[in-house]
């Protein structure tokens, strides 16, 4: 600690030279490429759109901006009402057939780059409402980047989904647990399903993957 202070003092006086100066600069400068920096900036300063449809709206966007489940710690506290100024839309609630064109128009009015989170079971896949009045999943009419299940999902679940979306924005999307835990090739398919008899190439690849795990 004391040595760092002395070095800083020397640097300010202009006394550091050569290798000392290089090491000093290395410790304080980050080198990266522009895309990663842009992704980092985008992910940590999302402007969500204040868009609540139904029950999930009470959990988000209202409950996640309150003090207990603070969305501000991830940089997304500035909820904008105008879609022109927002870059993320959280579809919180069931999308009825009357509302679907409105949502699509809102999504179109947002400027690139934009992301969509389908929060809750109703916007991911119509939840329990398999009937005439609810669009069976928001991905029927607009692209969705991340789905957060639950009915309604806890605010912590929404924040976890938001974190995954941030990783996706930063350029390293979360591929799922099999990649993370080195479990590729452990999938098992149900007997009689369309994929229960794999093609020969797939069977070979499967064996190779299993072998690489054992190795």
């Amino acid at each position: 600690m004391r040595s760092r202070q002395l070095r800083s003092r020397d640097m300010l006086r202009g006394d550091l030279e050569g290798e000392d100066l290089e090491r000093f600069v290395e410790e304080r400068v980050v080198m990266t490429n522009f895309d990663k920096m842009l992704g980092w900036a985008r992910a940590n300063s999302m402007f969500p759109l204040t868009f609540g449809l139904a029950c999930c709206a009470i959990e988000a966007p209202i409950s996640i901006v309150t003090a207990r489940y603070d969305l501000a710690r991830f940089g997304a506290e500035a909820l904008r009402a105008s879609p022109r100024q927002a870059d993320m839309i959280i579809l919180s609630g069931r999308v009825s057939i009357k509302m679907a064109p409105v949502v699509r128009r809102l999504y179109d009015q947002m400027l690139e780059p934009k992301w969509a989170m389908a929060m809750g079971a109703c916007s991911s896949s119509a939840g329990m409402f398999s009937n005439y009045a609810v669009v069976q999943g928001a991905d029927k009419f607009m692209p969705v980047d991340i789905y957060v299940p639950g009915c309604p999902p806890r605010p912590e679940a929404v924040l976890y989904g938001f974190n995954k979306l941030q990783r996706k924005v930063m350029g390293s999307p979360d591929q799922g647990w099999r990649r993370r835990y080195n479990a590729e090739g452990t999938e098992e398919w149900a007997r009689g399903g369309p994929r229960s008899e794999p093609s020969p190439e797939a069977a070979e690849a499967y064996e190779a993957a299993r072998a690489s795990i054992r190795a």
């Binding site: 204040t50 209202i62 009825s96 409105v102 309604p152 806890r154």
Partner: protein, 399 residues
Amino acid sequence: MASPETQTPETTSEVMTINIGPHHPATHGVLRLVVDLEGELVRDLKPVVGYVHTGIEKSCESQSYWKVIPFVERMDYVSYFFQMEAFCGAVERLVDLEIPPRARYLRTIFLELNRIHSHLVWLGTTGLDLGAISMLWYCFRERDKILDLFEMATGQRMHTRYFQVGGVIEDIPLGFEAKLREFIADMPVRIGQYEDLLDRNEIFLSRTKGVGIVSRERLLELGVTGPLLRAAGEPWDLRKAFDYLAYPEVDFKVPVGTVGDNYDRYRVRLAEMVESVRIIEQALDGLPEGPYIADDRKYVLPPRSELSTSMESLIHHFKLVTEGYRVEAGEVYYSIEGPRGELGCFVLADGSSKPARVHYRDPSFVNLQAFRDMSVDGYVADMIASLGMLDPILGGVDR
């Protein structure tokens, strides 16, 4: 604030029809308003609803009675216990099933907690609309405490499916009573804090006093009930009028306003929160021991411990879970006092295990008809304040 009559007659104005919503920061949910404006004055107003219509009533016709309960909860998504109570009460009257006293008291406790929760959400979002932005954070701090209590007893924060036909699904766990007592000791202090924040706020007072007045007779004609009617001076409360659950045995007052403007509506709801705390305290003190759900195995699931010893229980359980119980043909309309007014449930049974018609008389749907009367010939800003004080929940309006 200049009154609308002092506009100079030389200026010509034209009526402009604008569209507010369905996506708008100040509409409580997806409400669309088609407003005819003359300058800043609202000349006509038409609410267009249906943007969150979920067809719940149709879905209920293809589910057995037990499975209808999670569907109807999600109508008015802030007061979910009330919808459950309306349905379970209607079916209990259809099958003539009496619920044990402990279940009645537990239901009352949860209903009043949900009433406080609904009023807190209202206060937070209405404060947000009127510009008192900090109200949101304070109200939702208490709301999270209530949701912690719900989660402790039922496992879910919202949409708990806690009420079943015959009683409640599970008894309250250990530690719930202590935590609830802590909450009710704390709540009146917090309500005092909300009053301190808003009651002497000059902007809030001038935005709500004398604004949005509708006469009592007009409100009754329009079928408006709940805090809106009580703020206009009519002491009509279904908890006192029809005796149901544990309300006859607890002592509480019904707050009534005098003028019927937005400020009275605000004060009536705050006073209702205080009364709800009193009800919960009395119900908790008088909570009787005993079973928490009725004994009738034809309609109520047997306790799981019995399933391994009694063959009959196994058969009952199987029948109830797969097909459900059958209800003889008949129809019942049962209504309770929800946080927004009279919440009524009509159930038609046709002898099978699925209801033939479930219809909810939702208070927000009917109260929305009063919105036009509240805002015509007032300013647009007053219309937004009235919309907040009207407290519509669009899930209930659209079902």
